[in-house]
């Protein structure tokens, strides 16, 4: 077969795999993997010439791409009162999450760590209160708020008061500030 055909076939296969990953409904989290949290580096600054290494975790990648996990995250975001402070992403007593600014890092590992550990200026620590899988789901959803998830996996509007364009309709924003970004 011709090489363009191979390429097309390869592309189709890739799309198919992406589709499978995106649509998987994984109800039960596998036990937390080592290195899931290790990826979080909060500063781009490091003495010497080498930049800090931030390696994205496989867990992060999985949650980032999966429509079900992200939509579950959206559910928890309301149920666990995240929206009480962060509204529907626009912020309130907590900072806006739909914009490009990230105080404590915008990678999914950072966000998961922020939820788990809390942050000194008012973000409560949910360690032990929110199980690990839900933390990752929440983190994936929070990333999707600024468009940082594959568009087909991002949530659409809720059956609720319309707060503005849904995550799916937002243009992806670059993640600015706060942390070293792993390749994503």
């Amino acid at each position: 077969m011709c090489s363009p055909c191979h390429k097309v076939a390869g592309l189709v296969l890739l799309l198919a795999i992406a589709g499978c990953e995106r649509e998987e409904r994984e109800f039960q989290s596998p036990p937390p993997q080592s290195g899931d949290a290790g990826a979080a580096v909060l500063s781009t600054l490091s003495p010497g010439s080498s930049a800090p290494q931030a390696t994205p975790s496989p867990t992060g990648r999985k949650y980032n791409q999966n429509a079900y996990h992200i939509s579950e995250g959206k559910r928890w975001f309301r149920w666990f009162n995240c929206n009480g402070c962060h509204a529907n992403g626009g912020g309130g007593s907590g900072p806006a999450l739909m914009d490009e600014k990230w105080i404590y890092g915008g990678s999914i590992e950072h966000i998961a760590a922020t939820i788990r550990q809390g942050r000194p200026n008012g973000m409560p620590s949910f360690d032990g209160k929110i199980p690990e899988q839900q933390i990752w789901q929440l983190a994936a959803y929070v990333r999707s708020m600024s468009g940082n998830a594959p568009k087909p996996a991002r949530p659409s509007r809720n059956d609720a008061l319309n707060p503005g364009p849904a995550e799916q309709q937002r243009d992806p924003l670059p993640t600015v500030g706060g942390a070293a970004q792993g390749p994503r």
Binding site: R78, W79, F80, N81, N83, G84, C85, A87, N88, G89, G90, G91, G92, S93, G94, P95, A96, M98, D99, K101, G118, P120, N121, G122, M123, P124, D159, A160, L161, N162, P163, G164, P165, R170
Partner: protein, 602 residues
């Protein structure tokens, strides 16, 4: 009806009209608004509301309608905190005390020296985590001065007494638990050697209380909750509410679903007035929690109402509920102005309350009877007050529903006016009211109570009210029960008002203008653009040099300015509990700041 009778009726009507008109013309002496709660003018500003009657009227008249146009900046001072500056500067002796938003620095400025340099700075170091549970910016509404001590509250629920001269801490007490969402933002009131303070957290399911602390030691003299059993609310045999709806045993429990009062709100974060003659303090209780009223059937005593309590014992004397079973987050914590004046031909002790629901209540402050409740703003959410039963009548079409957006509820959750206090001038008989002309679309949703996190259950989207302007500043003639004049503002007016014996009214706007109006006509006489939006409370004082000064803090924030102070995203209409949608353009109009401005004539 025969003709003669009709003619007589008309004639009578005309006579009454002309007589009231005469009366209002012949003010200010015909009404005697002075009460014992108003101290003699001494050129100082010892408490946020100026006096126990909360008039915010300064007897100084050096700056008047004729010369106010020449007002110039005398000096400025940066507070070093760029969040919403809601406090009133306190002036005692030759010193000005300014308390900032979190981290609640307390500055003493030496007014005797040129440029008023700081004398000392007190850093209370509150827990930074408290920032996460402040519903509407990390504000503080001011300190209070008494007997050489300055008292103020910190965001993490401490009350602190500081030596006014040295800036040394005298005592501090922890009154609330931030892990439950409890904060303190209100300005304390000093009554008979007691510091009266209350908590905030109505959006976090915090049970509201008011407490009197011994001014010398900080120990609690009495503490009264706003919900729960009578014993904890300090309701005893003296309790004589005027209306049947407030009478009964343990209403703080039985007007709630089982145990719901434990997370019922009713926080005391607003203004307290005091009548030395009756020895009663008056204060409002905040909204019941959560906002979604379906989750708390019943009247939800004793939230969204006003208590009169014995200042010594804290025992309740009477209670009146502005919003039984509050539907719209209408905290009942606004200022209560205590006036002695003629009402229906009789001299009465009155309490005047511009309430969030858009009605201006005039009450007998001895009994708690509502004498009148007139709308001072456009209203769709309610249909007036039934003066027989005292009940507010809700508009059934505008009751928030679960799962359905109810549109155009006016006034919105912040009310026709929020905490930002009005001022009353006995010289004009007018009450000067900052308005918020905002309506809202709401959807009631399920609310989940998790201690230390918001407990609201409402999606809100606010927008400009009728006319498209979002703020107003008006003067209300209390005796004539009508509006004297009003001017429109582009943004909601979130600052307090100040009126002086020079017949000048001062207030600030969200986009940073500090304005002076003619107290009688409302004519704009002077304005000055400050560095940030103004949500503070202007004060007037006589400096050590004998000149009159006007001071205000500039620094946008609070609920209304959260979009700027918190850098919120206007694409989300529900951001800052929906307020952002009403002021999406505020970021273009102003930036965060924190500067004290003091003005004087050259």
């Amino acid at each position: 009806m025969n003709i003669a009778l009709t003619a007589a009726a008309i004639l009578l009507g005309l006579m009454i009209q002309s007589s009231t008109a005469q009366e209002s013309n012949s003010q200010p002496d015909a009404i005697s608004p002075r009460s014992a709660a108003v101290q003699e003018e001494d050129g100082q500003w010892l408490m946020a509301a100026k006096n126990y009657a909360s008039t915010r009227f300064s007897g100084l008249d050096e700056i008047n309608a004729m010369n106010v146009k020449d007002l110039k900046v005398a000096y400025t001072f940066s507070t070093g905190v760029n969040r919403g500056q809601e406090a009133a500067p306190i002036v005692a002796g030759g010193t000005m005390y300014v308390v900032t938003p979190f981290p609640n620095y307390l500055y003493a400025l030496d007014l005797t020296k040129p440029g008023a340099p700081p004398k000392w700075k007190f850093e209370p170091n509150p827990d930074p985590s408290a920032q996460g549970i402040a519903c509407c910016d990390v504000v503080n509404r001011g300190a209070a001065y008494a007997d050489g001590r300055v008292f103020f509250n910190t965001l993490d629920s401490q009350t602190i007494a500081v030596d006014a001269e040295t800036g040394k801490e005298l005592w501090r007490v922890q009154l609330g638990d931030i892990n439950k969402g409890e904060t303190m933002t209100m300005a304390p009131l000093l009554v008979k050697g007691k510091v009266i303070v209350g908590n905030s957290g109505g959006e976090y399911g915090v049970r509201g209380w008011i407490a009197a602390l011994d001014a010398t030691t900080g120990t609690t003299v009495w503490k009264a909750f706003s919900t729960g059993p009578d014993a904890e609310v300090l309701i005893g045999p003296d309790f004589k509410p005027f209306y049947a709806m407030d009478q009964g045993k343990d209403l703080g429990v039985t007007t709630w679903p089982p145990n719901a009062w434990e997370q019922g709100g009713g926080n005391v974060w607003g203004w307290i007035s005091y009548d030395p003659e009756l020895n009663l303090i008056y204060y409002g209780t905040g909204n019941p929690g959560p906002w979604n009223a379906d989750l708390r059937p019943g009247d939800n005593k004793w939230t969204a109402g006003i208590f009169a309590r014995d200042a010594d014992t804290g025992q309740a004397r009477w209670f009146y509920q502005w919003s039984p079973h509050d539907l719209y987050d209408h905290d009942g914590v606004n200022e209560n102005i205590l006036l002695n004046m003629q009402w229906d031909g009789k001299a009465r002790k009155l309490l005047v309350r511009p309430e969030r629901n858009g009605h201006l209540y005039v009450m007998d402050r001895a009994t708690g009877e509502v004498l009148s409740a007139d709308p001072f703003h456009a209203i769709t959410g309610t249909l007036g007050v039934d003066l027989k039963t005292g009940r507010l009548r809700y508009n059934p079409e505008k009751e928030p529903k679960v799962g359905r957006v109810v549109r155009d509820i006016c006034p919105a959750a912040p009310g026709a006016k929020d905490w930002n206090p009005s001022a009353f001038s006995p010289r004009t008989g007018l009450l000067y009211l900052p308005h918020i002309n905002i309506c809202m679309d709401v959807e009631a949703t399920e609310a989940n109570y998790i201690a230390g996190t918001p407990y609201v259950g409402m999606e809100v989207r606010m927008k400009a009210g009728p006319g498209g302007h979002r703020g107003e500043f008006s003067a209300w003639d209390i005796a004539a029960r009508k509006e004297a004049w009003t001017i429109n503002e582009k943004f909601p007016v979130w600052s307090g008002a100040l009126v002086t014996a020079g017949d000048v009214v001062f207030y600030g706007t969200l986009d940073g203008w500090f304005k002076a109006l003619d107290a009688r006509s409302g004519e704009l006489l002077w304005q000055f653009k400050t560095s940030s939006g103004i949500i503070g409370q202007p004060v007037a004082y006589r400096g050590p040099d004998g000149k009159q000064y006007v001071a205000v803090l500039s620094g946008v924030g609070g609920w209304s300015g959260a979009i700027v102070a918190g850098d919120l995203d206007p694409r989300d209409a529900t951001a800052a509990l929906g307020f952002v949608n009403a002021v999406p353009d505020l970021k273009q109009a102003t930036t965060p700041g924190g500067t004290l401005y003091v003005f004087a004539l050259p």
